[in-house]
């Protein structure tokens, strides 16, 4: 059913704005800090094989489904699913709930980015050196045992407690940044897509510019080629591990931001006669290409960092050897280091053993892989300190991260905003500006609990449980609902009216069989992996013997209950709404 054109619904200014918004929503922080990590640990170039298979059979069909749905029904997620079938209204509700939960913690990650950004204007960068201890004879102990970047992240930024149950106090600097972030989100989403449509030109395009700059600079750094070779060298043996396929499937799924309801909201503002099939393929391909494009500068910089650490290790060993044997300065250089060491080991083994030299292995440094916040705030900041002109690089890097996250936030907020706007009771009494203001204010107040000392542990919990499992469930019901409740034939007719041609065999097969099956397998595998061991987390505890390693702790029962609640609550809306409809 295609309702009439002029229904007072806001519209995109042009097609480019719409495509850019979808791309901005899909391309987020995960493209920069999760995809390169997965590539690295799953055999480099070989990971691209399961990645593209997942893209072809799971990502693109689901994306096309959501975009076509929104465009055809011209309603947000709640209204759209109610229209498909009153029994499926719960799917829309679940999407809405997940969007709310994710918006809460996602903006706190942006708060951290903003904190680093405003600290990047200092000369020298605050995370480059350790503060001194009380009597000025040495460095602060916590900082000295770990590194200055670790100290700045865990102590100066998060002021983290050593356990998830210890809440600590509210960190006032984080509250300020959080307020600023929510104010920015409010500024950009104040009138829905009217304002985000203008903001997206900047936030979606700017990251590509910065990535290009980093790409060019990264390739000129020493050690970049080692990093890139390490990343892309394919190791086809890893494909035998089912974990790799599972990671590829989940990465594609979460990377495209499916099942949030945001894509449905975006496409609902389209004119009815728009080629959603081409849009879906475009957005999915751009997202994957961006992931690949982003991994090049990331790994050049990581290679540079590993090489610098390797050289430092060599230099320290050289100094100890020279001191011990009283050799003239500059007799041992990095190039003839191995020759000298083997000679000295054979001639003076006891003396060499007494020196306790640390073995310097470049591979070992390259192997230290990190993903997520660790990559951005610890590893990358350390690499930036080593570059000349570090302020400029830091500022650029954090603005890029902020834009990436902000454009994804637009999609999240749109997923919350659009269904609320469609509730008659709200749209008549509240102007748009007030509604978005209320949403931002409430979210800010709730997100204050993420600025506590234990905040980052809670964000990990939200990320692992609220932002993963419910989405799989929702997506599964989306595909099954459209394919078997609404019936594919009817849906194909609708798509034909919009694009002018019937969806071909590829779409039919994937929508009917492959995607639901794949989602089911991923869901089951996901649950099995979660159940296998009790969920634990790494706590930053300066009093731990193995410090600076993180202390492995298990979640206490009440925290586990919250995890389960986060994962299960959105999913329960689906059967609950169906039951409610049955009873009526």
């Amino acid at each position: 059913p295609v309702p009439p054109e002029e229904d007072g619904r806001p519209k995109w200014d042009n097609k480019f704005q719409y495509i850019l918004s979808c791309i901005g929503f899909a391309v987020g922080l995960g493209n920069v800090w999760r995809f390169p990590y997965l590539c690295q640990i799953h055999g480099g170039g070989a990971f691209l094989i399961p990645y593209f298979i997942a893209l072809l059979f799971e990502g693109i069909p689901l994306l096309h489904l959501e975009l076509a749905l929104g465009q055809c029904l011209r309603k947000g997620s709640i209204g759209a699913w109610n229209t498909i079938s009153p029994y499926l209204g719960g799917v829309g509700l679940a999407s809405w709930m997940v969007s709310v939960l994710v918006s809460l913690y996602y903006n706190t990650v942006l708060t951290w980015v903003m904190w680093y950004f405003i600290n990047s204007f200092q000369e020298p960068l605050p995370w480059s050196a350790c503060p001194l201890n009380a009597n000025r004879t040495g460095f602060n102990e916590e900082c000295h045992k770990s590194t200055s970047v670790n100290y700045f992240w865990y102590r100066k930024t998060l002021n983290i407690t050593s356990d998830v149950t210890e809440s600590g106090t509210l960190q006032w600097w984080l509250i300020l940044c959080l307020a600023a972030c929510w104010a920015i989100v409010y500024l950009c989403t104040i009138r829905g897509i009217e304002t985000t449509g203008k903001a997206i030109y900047v936030t979606a395009i700017f990251p590509y510019l910065v990535l290009t700059v980093f790409l060019i600079h990264g390739l000129t750094l020493p050690g970049a080629t080692e990093g890139l070779a390490y990343l892309f060298t394919p190791n086809l043996n890893t494909l035998k591990n089912p974990r790799v396929w599972l990671d590829a499937a989940t990465q594609i799924f979460f990377s495209l931001s499916l099942a949030f309801g945001g894509l449905i909201a975006f496409s609902s503002y389209n004119p009815a006669k728009n080629d959603c099939e081409k849009d879906a393929v475009t957005v999915a391909l751009v997202n994957s290409v961006t992931s690949l494009y982003a991994s090049i500068p990331v790994f050049s910089v990581l290679g540079f960092k590993a090489t610098t650490a390797y050289w430092d290790c060599l230099d320290r060993n050289i100094i100890s050897v020279i001191n011990e044997f009283d050799l003239p300065e500059e007799s041992i250089m990095r190039q003839n280091y191995t020759a000298w060491i083997s000679f000295l080991n054979s001639s003076y083994p006891e003396k060499m053993a007494g020196l306790k030299l640390k073995s310097c292995d470049l591979q070992e440094f390259l192997d230290q892989s990190v993903s997520g916040t660790g990559l951005a705030f610890i590893v990358f900041t350390q690499a930036i300190v080593l570059m000349p002109g570090s302020q400029a690089w830091a500022i650029l890097f954090f603005i890029m991260l902020f834009s990436l996250g902000l454009s994804s936030m637009f999609g999240n907020i749109e997923g919350v905003f659009t269904p609320l706007l469609e509730l008659q009771v709200i749209s008549k009494s509240l102007p748009k500006e007030l509604l978005s203001g209320i949403i931002c204010l409430i979210s800010f107040l709730v997100a204050l609990c993420f600025t506590l000392g234990s905040g980052s542990y809670w964000i990990d919990i939200f990320d692992r449980y609220a932002g993963s499992l419910p989405l799989l469930v929702i997506a599964f019901f989306e595909v099954v609902g459209v394919a078997y409740v609404y019936k594919i034939k009817r849906f194909s007719e609708d798509v034909k009216q919009m694009t002018g041609r019937k969806p071909n065999l590829y779409w039919q097969i994937t929508w009917r069989v492959i995607s639901p099956l794949l989602l089911l397998i991923v869901f089951v595998a996901f649950i099995i992996l979660q159940i296998q061991k009790p969920p634990s987390y790494g706590a930053w505890n300066p009093r731990y013997e193995g410090f600076p390693m993180k202390e492995e702790k298990v979640y206490p029962p009440w925290v586990l209950a919250i995890c389960v609640l986060l994962a299960v609550l959105p999913c329960t809306f689906v059967p609950l709404a169906a039951l409610f409809q049955l009873i009526k």
Binding site: L132, T137, R191, T195, K432
Partner: protein, 184 residues
């Protein structure tokens, strides 16, 4: 520069200078500083003998304290730093990182916040003004309809002349009413 006897002489002079400043005993001579075991690495041991009795040596802690007090003078005499001129067993007093009176990040934060608030105020005020204009337009239109002179066809609250409907026809009768709307 190469390390030769002149550099050694300078070193002895600096150590004597440090001892004089520390213990204000202005009798320490360069001859009281004895270097031994000089190697090609350029490393050596040295002792300082008491100037009054040319046999006993000044205790180590006193020498250490003297050198620590004058470390930067000794360093700059040799154009070296704490890393390149190492005294074993003397930990260097580190300079604290420079901290400006107002943390820089607060200033940047203030600037960013001002920009955001300005933007929000601008958009909110703009929205209110737009709404007032729309209300005024609709009341004006209501007045026109009451007078019964002209029935203005509206599409979504916007008069048809303003909408350039390609699919529709623009009725020439309404062309004369342009003057009334231009006065808004």
């Amino acid at each position: 520069y190469a390390w030769d006897a002149n550099e050694e002489y300078l070193f002895k002079a600096m150590v004597a200078f440090a001892m004089r400043r520390y213990s204000s005993k202005s009798t320490t001579q360069i001859s009281n500083v004895v270097l031994c075991n000089v190697t090609d690495r350029v490393s050596f041991w040295f002792v300082v003998t008491d100037p009054n009795t040319n046999v006993t040596t000044v205790p180590g802690w006193e020498v250490e304290a003297a050198i620590r007090m004058n470390r930067n003078r000794i360093n700059s005499a040799f154009l070296l730093s704490d890393q390149t001129l190492q005294f074993l067993k003397i930990a260097s007093t580190l300079a604290p990182p420079v901290e400006p009176s107002t943390p820089v990040w607060l200033i940047v934060f203030g600037v960013v916040l001002c920009l955001i608030v300005a933007g929000i105020v601008f958009l909110v005020v703009g929205g209110i003004q737009q709404r007032k204009k729309k209300n005024k337009e609709s009341t004006e239109r209501e007045n026109l309809e009451e007078k019964g002179e002209v029935t203005v066809t509206v599409e979504n609250g916007i008069p048809c002349e303003v909408l350039d409907l390609k699919a529709g026809h623009i009725n020439g009768v309404f062309a004369a009413d342009d003057e009334r709307f231009a006065s808004l």
